[in-house]
Symmetry: C2
Subunit: 482 residues, 2 copies
């Protein structure tokens, strides 16, 4: 359905000429000076490190803008020379979002890390894209407010929006698409666009905010975010709940969601992941499938919800659900949960840790997780499972010996089947990690050719020269470049 796309310029589907790159670097060096523009190999390599098994592809240079106007300058300089632009937050994305397959300039928003305004009375905040989630929450704590989204890493909020990320609280507070009120975005032509206002809802035209959330830098660079906040709950209750099987744990999740208990977090760790977490975080959790559960509300509310969940767990053969409202215990547990990725890696030193996620309708969760575990065993692979199961979303942490060609082959085949299984259950190839380079090949199977053609048409409409983070999300060959 290429008829939807109306190309006007040649895309950066091939690496620009060395002279184009060199002239851009020279111009940027003049603008930004040696402290804010570097071509040092180590810095470039660090910015092309994909935290996955995708080959790293370093940019030609890394620039550190200090403000939105700097980003506009960079984009205009690159656009004039036909050189790709790759935005960079903390580099913790998992599907190669920050790779530079065609070279180009990496725009690291590290120094754009100011909280610009807190509107406590409206429960919103305006931040620069380099502010990280932990930095924001430290900033907010004194005001009794918090920002709920928490990917494992202490990611930058610009990158979190660009990847449409979520985390353990999404079951209650939503994903980045739900908490982002408005963005400022530098477009491919260097102009600065505002996508929304601070109104909590709007029906004013196309939803540009949601279009840019999850666009992974392929449509523009986010330089400011207005985000929803929440009051720190009066009471938080949480704890761990053991189950005899992963299936029983998943069924407890399903029953909890179906019953409408407003759970704030409900996370699955399979037996292997529990072992990994115990070893890595020096804990002594029972080494069986666990749910980590948390409730937010009034004292009476969280007590009622905890008791209700405990009954569900018991009916399904799990429990006891030991819950507490002591912050110290909870903090240690959730830090261990957030360290799951690194804990898994430590299970098998010297291997590559490959994290992949899928998301299915909750009724299929138990079936999907169990079939995946069986597949892991049959494939003779090591891959703990951990997941934001309240949303039907779970992750494999595959540990792959990259020197063992047969193991790499089996691992790739396993991940293919993981996605196929999720799609067959009317699920998605990624719940929160995004597409990047790693999952481009699944979009057509998931949504069909017309959706991919529409994405290509939108990409082309907003980035006619194909310079914004090329080689991600939309395959270049789908756009009818002329």
């Amino acid at each position: 359905m290429t008829s939807l796309a109306h190309p006007a310029a040649a895309p950066a589907s091939v690496r620009p000429s060395r002279s184009a790159v060199e002239s851009v670097i020279a111009e940027l060096a003049q603008e930004f000076g040696p402290n804010l523009l570097t071509t040092a190999g180590s810095t470039r390599e660090q910015h092309g490190n994909t935290a996955s098994w995708l080959p790293s592809e370093a940019p030609d240079a890394v620039v550190f803008p200090q403000c939105t106007a700097d980003v506009q300058k960079i984009v205009r300089i690159c656009a004039a020379a036909g050189v790709p632009i790759i935005p960079f937050g903390t580099g913790t994305s998992l599907e190669g979002q920050i790779n530079a397959p065609f070279g180009g300039i990496c725009v690291d928003t590290r120094d754009m890390n100011k909280v610009l305004a807190v509107h406590a009375e409206d429960l919103d905040v305006v931040v620069e894209p380099g502010v990280t989630r932990k930095q924001l929450n430290e900033y907010l704590r004194d005001q009794g407010l918090f920002f709920p989204l928490d990917p494992g890493a202490d990611a930058a909020l610009g990158g979190m929006a660009a990847t449409r990320c979520s985390g353990t609280n999404a079951v209650r507070y939503g994903t980045m698409k739900d908490v982002t009120l408005a963005l400022k975005v530098v477009l491919a032509n260097g102009e600065l666009m505002t996508t929304g206002t601070r109104a909590k809802k709007s029906a004013a035209g196309y939803d540009l905010t949601r279009l840019f959330v999850g666009s992974e830098g392929t449509l523009g660079i986010i330089t400011e975010l207005t985000l929803k906040l929440h009051g720190i709950p009066e009471a938080i209750a949480g704890g761990i709940c053991p189950f005899p099987t992963v299936e029983a744990a998943c069924n407890a999740v399903i029953a909890t969601i179906q019953t409408g208990i407003p759970v704030a977090r409900i996370e699955l760790l399979d037996q292997l992941q529990v072992k990994a977490v115990n070893a890595y975080s020096k804990l002594d959790l029972p080494e069986v499938p666990l749910l980590l559960v948390e409730f937010h509300g009034s004292e009476a509310g969280v007590a009622e919800q905890s008791a209700h969940f405990g009954e569900i767990a018991q009916e399904l053969g799990g429990g006891p659900f030991d819950w507490a409202t002591r912050a110290e215990d909870r903090t240690r547990l959730w830090q261990a949960r957030h360290d799951a990725y690194w804990a898994a890696g430590a299970l098998r030193r010297g291997t590559k840790s490959v994290a992949s996620d899928v998301c299915v309708p909750i009724s299929r969760l138990a079936e999907c997780v169990v079939a995946t575990q069986e597949d892991i065993a049959a494939s003779n692979l090591v891959a703990p499972i951990v997941g934001h199961v309240g949303d039907g979303n779970f992750h494999l942490g595959l540990l792959v010996d990259m020197d063992d060609a047969d193991e790499v082959k089996r691992a790739k085949a396993l991940l293919e089947r993981l996605v196929e299984r999720a799609l067959a259950m009317d699920g998605t190839c990624t719940g929160e990690h995004g597409v990047g380079q790693g999952k481009m090949k699944y979009l057509k199977a998931e949504l069909g050719a017309p959706a991919l053609a529409a994405m290509a048409a939108i990409k082309h409409a907003l980035d006619p020269a194909g310079l914004m983070n090329p080689g991600k999300i939309v395959p270049a060959d789908l756009v009818s470049w002329t």
Copy 2:
């Protein structure tokens, strides 16, 4: 910033030739027969009736597709001849969304009214676009499920998604952008696109679902929706709470939201609107500013929340908050709330009822409503105020004597100032009614030229011939048609 748009074909910015229209009508007549294709004046006029003071602009014919394949046929026939296509649900939009300024074929989805699948275990439902919100809730009731969004009218779900509507429950359950999991959309070239899966969240590419929610038929025609459902709450408590002033009522709303009480509905009726409702719905509500409030949850939860809200109201000079859990009382009250539009109209018979909405950050709500009331009085106009104030969203129901040119002029000026006031408070020109024809002129002031250019580029990318509901949202002169 027209450089983002890359036109390929001439748009339907002028009415197509009579012969093109006649040939399309002849072809449609052959396909659909006289029962499903009509050019009768009364039907055409009914389909161009805008429920506003915008002049009605009837389509050239109305066709009633029975299925998605019918819609594809219609689009292909119209596209081949360059004739505009205007989708139609129940015709209850308020900003001229269904007008046919360039003529064309109205596609009335009335007969596409089947509930295709209920997945109770996943809390989702798949429906055709002609299913109305009341029809859906009647269908679901036996299963203990409900769909929360409730515009005043018994609107069709396809139109509700197209307009990004919300209603009284949005403060708790979100708007159509939040409850729509996936759409099937017939694109401008007749192809059928799927925008998502039944997974509760996804990071798989551009958010096509959210792009089409709120696109008002200008990018394609929605032919299937997958929507989130909720379990009917264990307990519902609600009631009315009087306040001495609108300001006190708004301040109670602000305090309730800031405290994090999970209110399900919190609606403001100003004194004049209460009078109108009493007269129209035969009620005897106290004729002072009122909040209609409802809580959903467990028995203990709603009691706790009701008590908490009652305390807030009292502190701000309001109350008593008489709440009850009896369904009969609540139903009557909410029907009266939903009839507010018609009740307002009955205040001043023979006038045109012009409903307009804005939405502001909640901290500015009291100030905005009070300033608007003062403006109404100074303008010597009649305009009750009613609103989904938990979101900072409120409506004027202006009653205008259309034969009084001076009054019309004053009314138009009032609405201009209403929007200006909202924008100056970092709000939006429409919280839920959409842009249609009526609010196109405000988009640039709200979001700026780059956002409007981006919308034009997207419009052009997905509808290069400009045939999908032309003359709505994106001004044709912004697209650099060549």
